[in-house]
Symmetry: C2
């Protein structure tokens, strides 16, 4: 049984997180924290991209006002990202935050932690503890070095502070910019707590390497059963983070919504432009919500059999190709008519099913 | 101890594979198998991209002649990809193949398997068994269903055939288009054999999803200590497969060659164009071979500390920024001079080290 199946269930503005709930995708706005119109436009863009929960930096009081205004019209639950200042946390709660991201060890006196925990409890708002490899406590670094153990121990320390304030509506992240260290830290933490885990690798660099680091790190953890919500951190527009997050969930089989293209790598035997064909099929079917696997194969002889697990497929030869459904060949077409015929077959089947 | 540290060591044209050797990156040509000039040009392109081993489809005798001609000038070891025909395998060996990919269960009579195994043994050429989820034996499917167990059992059956022919110079792949099934299949196989594993997820679809599926699947296995060589299968130009393979190895910390950029995701606090800046830094330093971590941070106050593990970095504020080395600020610069100054500092340090 995987860790995510028995984590505590928390709720972020009505979106369930943990206890076997579907793994959600998060992102963070990057427009100025004092510009509610720009923030709201970006939140809507993220919602359209498929984001489930959005985080906003709340660095000061003016940002709290902006947060409150965005909250009134936001289509998605909003997380207030607070550093150090417990009063800002209280203000963000009053402004309607659906979750607070704050590290209790940075707030100061226990009474302050208690004030935030109690205010959250009254409103049913959870807290995310967000440990970051770049800002570990000196004492932790001295005692545990700079490896995964330090990240996990820092998280446990913050967790205990909230537990001492009788608060357990928690989720936890422990991100570092090193993929292997991040994965190992989450493994260590998962052995010790049943709070839902917010997965991420931080400071991943440029979009290409960032995508690869995130897919490797988050993907590895998801495949081990860890992780209840994910945020891909890219130095790129936030909608790209959402696209990447959804792609990772699809890749590991945790989200099946929409068309999944399988296509063979081209080889010295391929006689059609498979690369262009796969792209054309993907965009032709991009509006379909049903969970379908569609194969695009480069070999008329072996293609239908090799892709017999796909719901539909096409296999192209020299200027011509075949369509197939669950491995059974349904007809032969000239290359130019393959994709339209495939699309027709799929859409007709979907209409049949809807009847 | 990870599986890859105690796999048998084999050699592919002088490139070690297994037994703790550095994990290598493979790809496959996709130009016509009968065009030696085109194949050689692509092999050279792959070598320039950082590929370690290249596979060529050898579908018939004419392709053997092409293989032989490419082999004479190839800068990289070449693998002959053979289906069914044991005579083609023998011919490819005579043509100088550095490794043969063939599944002994598909060759036919044991004498034929023995003939191929003996010819490989005489030349010191290893065999890769390449099981593919799309072409599993009917009997295996009936007995084990269509899950990871079927993939692993099919591989074990092929392995036994080679062992019965007294041949152990083997590596094994068991690819399917489903990431989770692929990972689980390799885990099962790794529990039973100490042959080096060739990792891959097959038929991964369009380049973006293909990259994500490969990074998640191959990355997860590498992080568990599985895998001695990798091939990313993309429906894209083969050089993209090499780029992706190297990126995955870097992401999980198995290749440290060159500059690793860490950069924070932008947020509502960011006041510079961090996305463009990270890209500029990456391309300015792309020729450097030394393993350096360079941070590109969006916050002058927190950046140097958060990125203190980076060898170098810059942190940009509003129109200005600082450079730092191992967390220590080295100077303040206008935004436009940050990257040139960073580059100068790094190159001067590298020259100093070379002295």
């Amino acid at each position: 049984m995987s860790h995510r199946d028995h984590t505590r269930r928390i709720s972020v503005g009505g979106v369930p997180l943990g206890g076997g709930a579907p793994v959600t995708v998060q992102s963070m706005t990057n427009v100025p924290a004092h510009d509610p119109a720009a923030i709201l436009a970006q939140v809507r863009e993220l919602a359209a991209a498929g984001c489930d929960i959005v985080r906003l930096a709340v660095p000061d009081r003016a940002a709290v006002s902006a947060f409150a205004r965005v909250r009134e019209e936001s289509p998605l639950p909003l997380v207030a990202d607070i550093h150090f200042d417990y009063k800002l946390a209280l203000d963000a709660l009053a402004a309607g935050a659906d979750k607070i991201r704050i590290n209790p060890g940075n707030i100061g006196a226990p009474e302050r932690v208690k004030a935030v925990a109690d205010a959250c409890a009254r409103r049913g708002v959870p807290i995310r503890i967000g440990v970051n490899g770049g800002s570990l406590e000196q004492e932790i670094l001295q005692r545990f070095g700079n490896g995964p153990r330090a990240l996990a121990e820092s998280a446990l320390r913050h967790i205990r502070l909230l537990e001492q304030a009788d608060f357990a509506d928690i989720c936890v992240s422990i991100k570092s910019s090193d993929v292997a260290r991040t994965v190992e830290a989450y493994r260590l933490l998962a052995q010790q707590v049943d709070y839902p885990l917010h997965l991420g690798v931080t400071e991943t660099g440029t979009p290409y390497m960032g995508l690869v680091k995130s897919a490797a790190g988050i993907g590895a953890m998801l495949l081990e059963g860890l992780g209840d919500t994910i945020r891909v951190s890219l130095t790129a527009p936030p909608a790209e983070e959402v696209r990447a997050g959804i792609a990772i969930l699809k890749a590991v089989g945790l989200r099946r919504h929409g068309v999944n293209i399988v296509s063979c790598p081209t080889c010295g035997r391929t006689q059609i432009d498979l690369i262009a064909l796969a792209q054309t099929v993907e965009s032709a079917l991009s509006d379909i919500d049903a969970p379908l696997t569609v194969a695009v194969m480069g070999c008329v002889v072996n293609g239908p059999g090799e892709a017999r697990e796909a719901d539909y497929g096409l296999a192209g030869g020299k200027g011509t190709g075949v369509l197939f459904r669950k491995g059974t060949v349904m007809g032969k077409f000239p290359e130019g008519e393959l994709v339209p015929a495939l699309e027709r077959m799929i859409r007709e089947d979907l209409r049949e099913k809807e009847k």
